[in-house]
Symmetry: C2
Subunit: 267 residues, 2 copies
């Protein structure tokens, strides 16, 4: 069982893993800082506990720690109980979820680890918004996408806000970084994937026609909200696919478009 310790002093150095989550420099959840993985709230903390990330500590108000008692039974780490006020003083903002867990990062899986056995993959380019990135992982998990590959310009999926918006699914859906196009795309093609690039262009193939083609394995290239996919990505792909949309309407939010595409391709 995690060892329960009450801490009243926000300056206690045992809480340093959780400190100053909003300051720009050396934030513990940034690779430029200490690069820790931070989970907020009971649901996401549970996902962290059942993930491969090595747990370091938990910090929460007594009621929330109590909710997690059974989940923490097998962990030999400190569980710090404190007041909501002290928690705010430590992290730097009011945290209405009342509990945090912190873990070390784990080694990034290889491409083979993510790709072997996968049927549908999401391949992201330039998804630099942490919340969109987190939402994509949540959607990938819900709709049965087997893994996520991160191309150039993507945000850090393990940054706290991504973890939170993903509902902790960045801790479950396998992901890794891939080299620049076209190398990564050619590697996927060698492994039997049809590589489809999602674009709002009207001359692209409707998504369901790609699905009906019956490819065994599909990798879907997705770009950023503002700029979409680069020409290099479109050139490297086997096909350009689109979600049929009403005329005169901006494209969907990138995570929403991803959800629609995941739904169609994973059926």
């Amino acid at each position: 069982m995690a060892k329960l310790t009450e801490i009243a002093d926000a300056a206690d150095p045992r809480l340093d893993d959780f400190r100053d989550l909003t300051t720009a420099d050396r934030r513990p959840d940034r690779p430029g800082g200490r690069g820790l993985v931070i989970a907020e709230g009971v649901v996401v903390v549970r996902r962290l506990l059942s993930s491969a990330y090595p747990l370091r500590a938990v910090l929460g108000v007594p009621r929330k720690l109590d909710e997690l008692r059974a989940d923490l039974a097998d962990f030999d780490v400190p569980a710090y109980a404190t007041s909501a006020r002290t928690m705010s003083d430590v992290v730097g903002f009011h945290l209405n979820r009342g509990v945090l867990a912190v873990a070390d990062r784990a080694p990034t899986p290889s491409l083979a680890d993510v790709v072997d056995g996968a049927r549908v993959l999401a391949v992201l380019e330039g998804v630099n918004d942490h919340e969109n990135l987190g939402a994509m992982f949540r959607n990938a998990a819900a709709l049965g996408v087997d893994g996520v590959l991160l191309g150039a310009g993507c945000a850090d999926p393990l940054y706290r806000r991504s973890v939170r918006v993903s509902m902790g699914h960045v801790l479950r859906v396998p992901f890794t970084s891939v080299p620049a196009w076209p190398d990564a795309v050619e590697e996927l093609r060698r492994r039997g994937f049809h590589v489809a690039a999602l674009t709002p262009r009207s001359d692209a193939i409707a998504l369901r026609d790609v699905r009906r083609s019956g490819f065994d394995r599909i990798a879907l290239l997705l770009g950023s909200e503002g700029h979409g996919l680069s020409q290099e990505a479109l050139d490297a792909a086997d096909s350009a696919v689109r979600i049929p949309m009403a005329s005169g309407v901006d494209s969907l939010n990138v995570a929403t478009a991803a959800a629609v595409a995941f739904y169609e391709l994973t059926r």
Copy 2:
């Protein structure tokens, strides 16, 4: 042409329509306040200009007003030019979109206005989050949903944050409020709609099987993020439908689930 007037003083009463957008009371964009419709940014302002809402005034930095010059040609309303700093002082926060337009509300359409000629409708219950509500309108517009009916507990779609997140599509997609269940559902049924309730329940019918049933008209009941649809809504509907999801995953965000359902049902 809108009459261009330079204003340097943030206290100028001609700017009262735009004042204190973040204060809780008598906010101009709240029904409890003056109940105005406020559009932010060039794209959304353009949607307001082409909507049925009677334009009152525009406020922006000169560069943004210049972008809108052709759009404003046919409007006989004041266009106030000012600095970014003065705009911040008026609205109460830094507005990086640089332009606002304000309009009066228009009379709410009747149920017949929204429903006649519609093939797919979204019927919302308890969607009380302005951003989720706005996102649903954006998704409805993109994916060809013909109208939105607001049941009990829904937020105000014309509140500024809904307008912004919808990318202005709340100003285009017809909507109206409907009475409590089962009356509204029975009225839709009389008008030839199959009324399907979206739920994560595993005994519900898969969405695509409902679509394959070939109903001429479908009204999709959607509940709130946290609680889903009420039992009254589920009881009133003709069928319960679900998006097939991976086990152990929370349901999708409500606006994302709506997008997937709209995609399937509008094809």
